[in-house]
């Protein structure tokens, strides 16, 4: 139990926001133009870095040492969580940012995400209370009537009330179409009587907000089976009367889960309408006036997609914090002598080849994933603000394709990457007095919640590959080919390697990306061939590996783009400049990632072309041995 927020600075975030992404386009939109320019970003990021360290980090240790409890039907959260929730919400770092009214003072998504990354790293178990409130409030903002908006949004935006998403039930998890929750009409066509049970509800109850607003999936009696018939309801823990007072709404917490990690984050089981007294507001059209077809799943997908981005981002923040902690330890810990100079004295372990490799592996993965994610956050701002419909559509397409990558890739890699951070510590890494042990416990959930990473993989190969009859994904791949074509000539001319200076040329890395793109086409053709032969099982068999390869291809493109910029800057500044090492670090990250990680794309392509079916062919009885 030794939480430690180890971001020394926000330099990589500033590079992304001020140097790499054209954020001036975002800050020119009317909603932000009065308040922001690129030059102002330090005034947001620097205090938030300080807040993460001084204000949020202590709550992480509190959460781990005072896990959520359930007693006498009530949930008790760690003591610091309530005050922190109210402080961040009241001071504009949370749900108030969903306000889309003309005079609202809000942060663009790409900047808020940078703030949240630091907060997430400082306490990953706390932030879901805020993130889920944002997602729930966004659904109300986008789909509710004015009456419902006025009833809920001001209280959610100022932190008086929190929010959740209620999908999973004891008998329906990944197969959400099988939910048993029911909604029954009342005299008011917008209000329904709700009956059902939900479980695994993050933030499903707490002891620090006056009310909890559940965004609840249920089937109106008589609606179609499966996901088609599902509708979405706003079901508050306490019913909001016309005068604003609250009264019981027959929502009970029946228990909380005891988990591997994330002790400060409540995971609740909830019962709705046990005494037939639970009511909820319908969002969107009544399914019974639409052939039994509800709008609930489509609406909830908006919140789920947002939550999927934040899940991947949480995993990234955890990996980064584990790596930064390990880096600091390796710079201090003295052990062993150099293999190249064994007669010299003992050295700090960061001087050993395998430790340097481990740390660069972490750094390269973090920066590649971060580049991938912030390019998508940038697209969110374009999609929501730009006047040009073509540009909005392009941004929307990128979001569609990359959301499963952003959710699953960091959360898949987090487990072993944090394992490598523990490895760098040696035996101390396995001890709870060092922070990486807790990070390992906390991070595992991200590959499971908000749709398991297998679901993300099937979303990629089942929906995103086919979207717009394949045109959307073809555009995604073509952009990467165009990127290679546009930069090939310039990188070959880049200086480097002479006079003992690092090699800044990137020709070999571009060749690897081009080869990976070619391999990816072969991979898609091989899968297409299997589908043509009606070998449908091959798709789920290889889906997760395809998602990993797709992510590595795209993250490789993103970090290589950053390296092109960094190479130019490093050459302009020269080795004596204080920022030279930052840019050299970016280039080395890209080199490592392209030359050690991206080749997995053709390894996966070769495996899929080979078409091994042993995992399908093995009799279930053979698993007994």
């Amino acid at each position: 139990m030794s939480a430690n927020f180890a971001y020394l600075n926000a330099r990589d975030l500033k590079f992304i926001l001020k140097e790499w992404l054209p954020t001036e386009e975002i800050f020119a939109y009317p909603q932000y133009a009065d308040y922001y320019s690129k030059e102002d970003l330090d005034s947001v990021l620097d205090p938030c870095l300080k807040m993460a360290k001084e204000l949020i980090e202590p709550s992480n240790e509190d959460g781990d040492s005072h896990p959520c409890q359930f007693a006498n039907g009530k949930v008790i959260t760690p003591p610091t969580f309530g005050p922190l929730f109210h402080k961040l919400q009241e001071e504009g770092w949370g749900t108030s940012n969903i306000d889309d009214s003309e005079d609202a003072m809000v942060l663009p998504k790409v900047l808020l995400s940078a703030v949240w990354e630091m907060f997430l790293a400082a306490n990953p178990t706390f932030l879901p209370y805020i993130i889920l409130t944002c997602g729930a409030a966004e659904l109300i903002r986008d789909f509710a009537t004015e009456e419902v908006k006025e009833m809920f949004l001001p209280k959610m935006m100022d932190g008086s009330w929190s929010g959740t998403m209620c999908l999973t039930e004891p008998s329906a998890g990944s197969d959400v179409g099988d939910i048993l929750s029911k909604a029954y009409p009342t005299d008011n066509p917008r209000i329904f009587r709700i009956k059902g049970s939900k479980m695994f509800i993050t933030g499903g109850d707490n002891d620090f907000t006056e009310n909890i607003v559940h965004l609840y999936l249920a089937r109106i009696e008589g609606a179609k089976p499966g996901t088609k018939g599902i509708s979405l309801f706003v079901v508050p823990k306490y019913w909001v009367n016309e005068d604003g007072s609250l009264s019981d709404n027959d929502v009970q917490t029946t228990g909380i889960e005891h988990k591997l990690g994330m002790y400060g984050s409540v995971t609740a089981s909830l019962s709705f309408g046990e005494n037939n007294g639970c009511r909820g507001w319908l969002l969107g059209a009544n399914s019974m006036e639409n052939d039994g077809v509800g709008e609930g799943m489509a609406q909830m997908f908006q919140m789920m997609n947002g939550a999927r981005m934040e899940t991947g981002h949480s995993a990234l923040a955890c990996i980064a914090n584990a790596y930064y902690n390990a880096r600091d330890y390796c710079k201090d810990r003295i052990q062993g002598r150099l293999i190249t100079d064994p007669k010299s004295g003992r050295v700090t372990i960061i001087n050993h080849e395998d430790i340097k490799r481990t740390l660069l592996m972490g750094k390269a993965h973090i920066e590649a994933m971060r580049a991938m994610m912030y390019r998508t956050y940038f697209a969110f701002d374009i999609k929501h603000n730009d006047l040009d419909p073509e540009k909005r559509q392009k941004a929307s397409n990128l979001i569609e394709v990359t959301t499963p990558l952003c959710k699953a890739y960091p959360s898949d890699e987090a487990w072993w990457l944090i394992g490598e951070a523990i490895q760098a510590y040696g035996g101390y890494g396995y001890c709870e007095e060092y922070p990486v042990a807790q990070i390992a416990r906390d991070v595992k959930i991200y590959s499971i919640w908000e749709g398991t990473n297998f679901i993300q993989s099937m979303d990629l190969v089942g929906r995103k590959w086919m979207m717009g009859k394949g045109a959307v994904f073809a555009e995604f791949l073509q952009e990467m080919r165009d990127f290679c074509e546009a930069h090939k000539a310039t990188v070959e001319a880049a200086a480097g390697g002479e006079a003992g200076l690092p090699d800044l040329s990137l020709g070999k890395e571009f060749a690897i990306l081009e080869r990976a793109l070619e391999s990816y086409s072969q991979l898609q053709m091989a899968i297409g061939g299997y589908m043509g032969q009606k070998k449908v099982g091959m798709l789920p068999l290889y889906a997760r590996r395809i998602l990993t390869a797709t992510s590595q291809l795209y993250a490789g493109r993103c970090i290589l783009d950053q390296a092109v910029l960094a190479s130019r800057k490093a050459q302009e500044l020269g080795p004596d400049h204080y920022d030279y090492n930052f840019y050299i670090g970016k280039i080395m990250s890209a080199k490592y990632y392209l030359r050690n990680v991206v080749p997995n794309v053709w390894a996966v392509a070769d495996i899929i072309k080979d078409g091994d079916c042993s995992a399908l062919d093995i009799p279930i009885g053979a698993f007994d041995y």
Binding site: N9, D34, Y35, Y36, D40, D42, S43, V44, D46, P47, K50, M51, L55, E90, E91, G92, W93, S96, M105, L107, H577, Y578, D579
Partner: protein, 250 residues
């Protein structure tokens, strides 16, 4: 009541200090409001929240980048700022002269500052300002009450506290234990950009201090390792402490 707060921009207290060409190298260093001045800013904002102060004005003497320190104080809740443009090599005397000139033109009812700067640690500027302006000065305060044209200040004193009553205007410098400075809110940061900051040139005066040389403190020397049986090791350790380290036993 108008409260004016003097702030200095200093290195981040966790910054690694390096020398280059015989001078402190500030390239790439994160700059912050002197933490002691930040306490004074918070104290002023609290006076405004209590309805005692009507306006909080921030004044800083320094190079253009000192504007960031002013904006940070504005983001915390101050109303407007004044940047007194001055060479960053100005000494405490030149700083005090420049600040006192700006303060005099503002004619505030109360002047607050941190009692010391985290970089040079000289603890001179607030006292010099009071002397130049002919105002009373109370140092290292941990609380303040304003009533009836007087400030009642509690300060740290040897073995206890001292309570001092002075007429205002006065120069009051804060101890860190006065309060816990707030983090700027998101709206505070956004609004800070629109708050007015005037820029004026500093009065040109010669430094009274001439810096001859900067030097970093000597690095820690390595310890010794005695690999002997405990009785021999203890004797060797005692000898090392007495004759090499020259520990004095009184």
């Amino acid at each position: 009541m108008k409260v004016l707060v003097c702030v200095k921009q200093t290195f981040d207290t966790e910054a690694k200090i390096e020398l280059k060409d015989g001078k402190i190298n500030d390239a790439g260093i994160n700059l912050i409001i002197n933490p002691y001045d930040e306490v004074a800013v918070e104290g002023a904002i609290q006076l405004k929240e209590k309805g005692i102060a009507t306006e909080v004005v921030i004044v800083s003497a320094g190079a253009d980048k000192a504007m960031d320190a002013i904006r940070t104080a504005l983001a915390m809740g101050a109303d407007r700022g004044i940047l007194v443009k001055q060479d960053s090599a100005a000494d405490e005397y030149a700083r005090a002269v420049a600040l006192a000139d700006a303060i005099k033109k503002e004619n505030p009812d109360l002047i607050l500052a941190g009692h010391v700067a985290a970089d040079d640690g000289s603890s001179q500027v607030p006292t010099r300002i009071a002397e130049i302006l002919g105002l009373p000065h109370v140092n290292v305060i941990t609380s303040i009450e304003i009533a009836g044209g007087k400030a009642t200040c509690t300060s740290e004193a040897d073995g206890g506290t001292a309570v001092t009553e002075v007429s205002i205007p006065a120069v009051i410098s804060s101890q860190v234990s006065w309060n816990e400075p707030r983090y700027p809110s998101m709206k505070g940061i956004m609004q800070a950009k629109k708050k007015p900051v005037a820029t004026v040139d500093a009065i040109a005066v010669e430094n009274k201090v001439k810096v001859l040389e900067f030097a970093l403190p000597a690095g820690k020397t390595a310890g010794i390792k005695i690999e002997e049986d405990p009785d021999v090791a203890a004797a060797q350790m005692a000898d090392w402490m007495k004759n090499t380290v020259k520990v004095e036993v009184k």
